[in-house]
Each structure stands twice: as C-alpha cells, then as structure tokens.
C-alpha cells in the first residue's frame, strides 16, 4: 500500500464515513476526530493486513467504534450526561453501508442558510468532500488559519445553534435546495476554472461536484434545477481536458478539438437537461440550455446562436447582471453581426461591476477584431491585459494582441508596397 492509495481512499471514503458516524453520534467534531483516528489506524494496520475489500466500510466501522468508545468514556466520568443519551446500541454491520442518505443529510447541514455562504462551501469541501483545511485554503487563495477558524466557528454554530443533521422536510426544500445547488456548483467551478493549485485537486473537485450532483438528483428526482445543474456540469465537464493546451494556456471554445470532447458526458447532459425542462425552468436550466447549444454543435460556426441568445434572455429574467448582458452581446454578435454585439457591449461601458475586470475590454477587443477594426482592438487588448488577473488569460490576450498588431502593420505596409 502506498501513500497514493491511502490518499485516494481518504478522498473517496472520508465524507461518507463522516456522514454516517455524525448521524450516529450527532456530533460533527466527534465524528471528524473518529474518522481521523480510523485513518491513522488504517496507516498502521493496512501495510500488514492489506487494503480491505471495502475500505469505506472498514473506515466507517472503526470510526464509529472509536466515537462510541469516547462517548462511553466521557459518560463514565459523569460530566457529560447528555452525551450518554446519544449512546445508541451499535447497529448491524449492514446498516453501516450504504450511506448515501447520510451524505445528503450532511450536505443540507453544511449548506444551512443560517451559515454564511463561505462557511457553507468550506464545510462541504471539508466534511462531504474530505479536503484538508490547507487544500481548501489553497483553492480559495485564503490563509490556512482563516479557513481553519471559519471551519471551527461553523461547526461550533451547528452544535450550539442546533442546526439539525437531516434533510429538511418537503415544505422547506424549495428554499433550502438553492443553497445546496449553489454550493455544489461552486465546488465544480473551483475545480473547473481554478488556475492555481495542482491538477489532481482540480479534477477531484469536478468529480466530487458531479458525484454530489448525481446524489442530489437521486434524492430529489422532482427537483428540475438539480437535473439542470447536473446537465450544466456535464456539458462543461465534457470538455474539461480540452480547455487548456499542453502549455496550460486556455483554449477558447471555438478553437477546441470537438472530436475529443467526452460524448458520453454530453449525451448524459442532454438526458438530464430534458429531465430538467420537463420539471420547469430556472437559472440552471437556462445556463444548461446555453451549454447544450455549444456542446451539441458540430462546429463553432454551426452553433445554434438563436438558442444561445434566448438562453441568456431567460437567464436575465431570473436575475439581470452585467455578466449576463455581456454574454448576451457576444451571442448576438454571432447570431447577427459583430457590430450588433458591439452596440450591446457599448451600453455596458459605465457598468461599475465590470470596471475592474478584464472581461469588458477583452470582449470589446474580440468584437472589434472580428469587425475588421484591428487598431481599435489593439487598444482594448492592451487594457484587458493590464486588468487580467491570471497568467494564462494574460498569455491568451497577448497572443491575440500580437495578431491584431500584425494585421494593423500589414495594412499600413500594403498601401505603400
């Protein structure tokens, strides 16, 4: 057994083990300690005995026993009477596994609206996905002590404020589910778009989000937005491997090799989107509709831009934002003309929420380039490069800048030559 096997088992099984033990003892911190102890025990005994057939069940059983031992010891000391009440008789081994519902309980607990959204995501990554505080800190570019403190405060609030460890009753689901959906999507986008951190964690996060999304669809088959989120993530994920080139640079959608997109994921996404649409609309349905138009187009030019524009219109109806309008403008530029898109982009010029990011300039630059105005595009690319936050984006914009500058130079030379 090597360290990779153990860290893989830890990632795959710690969330499930934690969810089950937490349900049994009703205490997240105690469950967390017990799962850590079970893994420490695994490090000691597995090199000799070999990895068990069902490592998750092994970890869960050992963790459960450790947690119950500690509750018994504490109740013997007589100072934790209420803990003794939680000492339920150990269930049969069969009950320990499978634990799907336990994880959903844990997700709803982590995403309880009485917790801040930062805490919700940090807790989900820690408790459901099994990431260490250091890994979460790296993903969110936050200092590790900040993340650790946030986690322990959130766990303390769950305990002292009596945040229940359960899936909410039906009548509360409509107002609780959006938090869980947002949290899963945030986990996915952190994996999908994070340009820092090591690749292993990125992929793991995407896989984890897909796994959580599938669980949610299973538990809430009538929830259209759960299916829509699943579809959205699958469409994005089908081209995860094609988003960057060998140098780690971003490859725009139009330049990606569509033959290498994951067809199975796209087909699954189409099925999920159909299921979502049958159950009504919502912001994730709108986004998934847009993503589907891209994923199913044979090539960039043949994209169904009418559907994409309609998708952004629908999305804006659920909550207008400058980013949605910017994307709408791009879709219009392809459906109609670059000039039609530019008119919409220009209307966003004074938008303060776009002022500090590179996106407005980068979009304008691209439309100007396509409209055959390279000199103006060059100015916009320079502005975008100055605001771009990460290196791959800057490299991509710089490449485009070189292209348009080359074109401008060629035009200047041509009349003289």
């Amino acid at each position: 057994m090597d360290g990779d096997t153990l860290s893989r088992v830890f990632r795959e099984e710690s969330g499930r083990a934690l969810a089950t033990v937490a349900r049994m003892v009703g205490d997240l911190s105690l469950a967390e300690d017990a799962v850590q102890e079970a893994f420490a025990e695994a490090i000691r005994s597995w090199p000799d005995s070999g990895v068990p057939n069902n490592p998750g069940a092994w970890i869960t059983t050992v963790a459960r026993n450790r947690a119950l031992d500690r509750l018994r010891r504490e109740s013997l000391r007589g100072d934790k009477e209420h803990d003794a009440a939680r000492l339920v008789p150990p269930p049969d081994e069969e009950e320990v596994w499978p634990v799907r519902d336990d994880q959903l309980r844990l997700m709803f607990t982590c995403c309880h609206p009485a917790l801040s959204s930062e805490s919700q995501v940090a807790l989900t990554l820690r408790l459901v996905a099994g990431l260490r505080p250091a890994e979460i800190a790296r993903l969110f570019l936050a200092p590790e002590p900040t993340v650790s403190q946030r986690l322990s405060r959130a766990k303390a609030k769950i305990r002292t404020a009596g945040i229940p460890f359960r899936v909410p009753p039906d009548h509360l689901l409509p107002e609780r589910t959006p938090q869980v959906l947002a949290c899963i999507y945030l986990v996915f986008t952190e994996g999908y778009s994070a340009t820092s951190g090591d690749t292993a964690i990125r992929d793991e996060l995407c896989e984890e989000a897909l796994r959580l999304g599938r669980l949610l669809c299973e538990l809430m088959p009538d929830e259209g937005e759960a299916w829509a989120l699943m579809a959205l993530m699958l469409f994005h994920d089908s081209r995860r491997a094609q988003r960057t080139d060998a140098a780690g640079d971003l490859v725009p959608l139009e330049c990606q090799d569509r033959r290498r997109w994951d067809r199975a994921k796209i087909e699954e996404g189409v099925v999920c989107l159909r299921a979502a649409r049958r159950r009504g609309g919502g912001p994730y349905s709108a986004q998934a509709t847009i993503a589907a138009a891209h994923a199913t187009a044979p090539n960039w030019e043949a994209t169904d831009w009418g559907t994409v524009v309609a998708g952004y219109d629908e999305l804006a109806a659920y909550g207008d934002s400058p980013a949605v309008r910017l994307n709408h403008a791009v879709a219009v530029s392809f459906r109609d003309s670059p000039d039609a898109g530019l008119a919409e982009v220009d209307a966003l010029a004074g938008e303060p929420r776009l002022a500090r990011t590179h996106t407005l300039h980068a979009t304008r630059a691209d439309l100007l380039r396509r409209a055959g105005r390279p000199a103006e595009a060059s100015v916009e690319y320079r502005a975008a490069i100055g605001l771009a936050a990460n290196e791959p984006t800057r490299r991509f914009l710089t490449r485009r800048l070189t292209e348009v500058d080359g074109e401008t130079a060629a035009r200047q030379i041509r009349p003289r030559g």
Binding site: H112, P113, A156, K157, A161, G162, I163, P164, L172
Partner: protein, 236 residues
C-alpha cells in the same frame, strides 16, 4: 433547546404606548402568530417604548446611567420571546411568523440556560449587552467566573429575579428577515449593532428607580451595559 428571539423594529414603531391603537393592532398580529406555535412559546413580552428605558453602563467599574437604549442603533428592541424546540429549524418555523421578521428583524440566540419566568407582572427586562468580540464561551474559566458573579447577584436580588438566561456567543446567533414571504437568514446578530446581547434577566421592581438600582448590581463585562426595559403586563 431554548432560543431567545429579540424583536427589532424601526425606532419610531416602538414609540407607541401600550394604550395606543397601534399597540393593540401589533398585539393582535402577535397573537395571530402564536397560533400554531404550540409548546414552542415558553416566555416573552412586549416592551414599553424605548424613551422610558434606561441604560446602565459599566465604566471602569462604575455604573453610568443614561436614558433610553444605546443611541446609535437604527433598530430598537420592541419585545422578546423565548422559544423552545429540538433544533433551529423547528424554532425558525415559528420565528418567521413573528411580525417583526417582516418589518424589522428578529435575532435568534441559542440560550446556554434559561430560567422560566413565573410571573412578569410589574417586571423589567434587563438585557445584558457587551461589545462585539468580548464574548466568552461556556466552559471557559472566564465564563465560570462570570457565572459565579451572577450567582452572587441572584443571592442579592432574591425573589426579585423572576427569570433569566445566558446566551451562547454571537457566532451562534442568526438574524431573521422575511421579505415578500421569503425567509432571509444572516449568520450572526444584526450587523450594525455595536453591542451584542449576552444574557437577560426578568426583574420585579415597584418603579423605575428601584429597577435601575437592582439592575446596577448585575455584573457586566468592562464596557458592557444593561438595557433596562419595562415589560407590558399581560392583559388581566
């Protein structure tokens, strides 16, 4: 578990006296919100207008008394409930129906302990407040020290203490607002308050003077204060 719900509304709204028609309307709406509360509602009361209140501040060990509640808060406490439930969701079900949730906000604080109010006729609410960040967690030596001081106060006050309780630190509080029928929750107490709740007493006193004299003996942390408010007696 017990939870203290502090009902906050705009300052003006609490300027009605208990004899005013506005007060009667508000009481009617509160009574409507009690339907279905079942056994969740275990205590509480409406408060007289804040203009008649007093604040007793601990300034270097001296009790500094001023009229009214702390001046800088935009919202004023108009009443309180103590709710009981097995978890936060159970209590939220009731708390979201409290009229102040729709018009102001409701701060929901888990209580470390709660001594039920037996009879609150002629009683005053002494709401203990402390600066944000000065909170102490149960089980720490500072908490135990504080508890010993409160026991001392309990011996001095005797039967004048009709009820009371300690609160968990502000990290565990949740602020509730209902807007357009939608429940909006915020992690922590109402953000603009400079001083946060950490406990309460219900004190029996014949008049304002004796209530202040009694409340001045309540131990509070340095820079902490006590907001003293008269509770409107239940209709006979």
């Amino acid at each position: 578990m017990y939870y203290l719900a502090l009902l906050a509304g705009e300052k003006n709204a609490t300027e009605w006296g208990p004899d005013s028609p506005e007060f009667a309307v508000a009481m009617g709406r509160h009574q409507a919100s009690w339907d279905g509360a079942g056994s969740a509602l275990v205590g509480g009361g409406a408060l007289y207008p804040s203009a008649e209140a007093a604040t007793i501040r601990n300034e270097d060990g001296r009790a500094l008394i001023t009229d009214g509640p702390f001046a800088e808060t935009a919202e004023v406490i108009g009443g309180f409930y103590v709710l009981e439930g097995s978890d936060l969701d159970e209590v939220l079900e009731h708390a979201r129906r409290i009229p102040e949730a729709s018009e102001g906000s409701v701060e929901l604080w888990p209580m470390f302990e709660w001594m039920a109010v037996t009879d609150q006729k002629g009683c005053w609410l002494a709401l203990l407040r402390e600066p944000v960040g000065a909170a102490v967690s149960p089980g720490t030596p500072q908490w135990d020290e504080g508890m010993a001081e409160h026991e001392q106060f309990g011996r001095v006050a005797g039967s004048a203490v009709r009820g009371g309780g300690a609160l968990y630190p502000p990290d565990s509080a949740t602020t509730i607002r209902v807007r357009d029928g939608e429940l909006l929750l915020t992690d922590g107490p109402f953000a603009e308050t400079a001083e946060v709740a950490n406990g309460l007493y219900v004190l029996a006193a014949d008049d304002r003077e004796s209530a202040i004299a009694l409340a001045a003996k309540i131990p509070v942390s340095p820079k902490g204060c006590i907001e003293l408010r008269q509770i409107v007696a239940d209709a006979e």
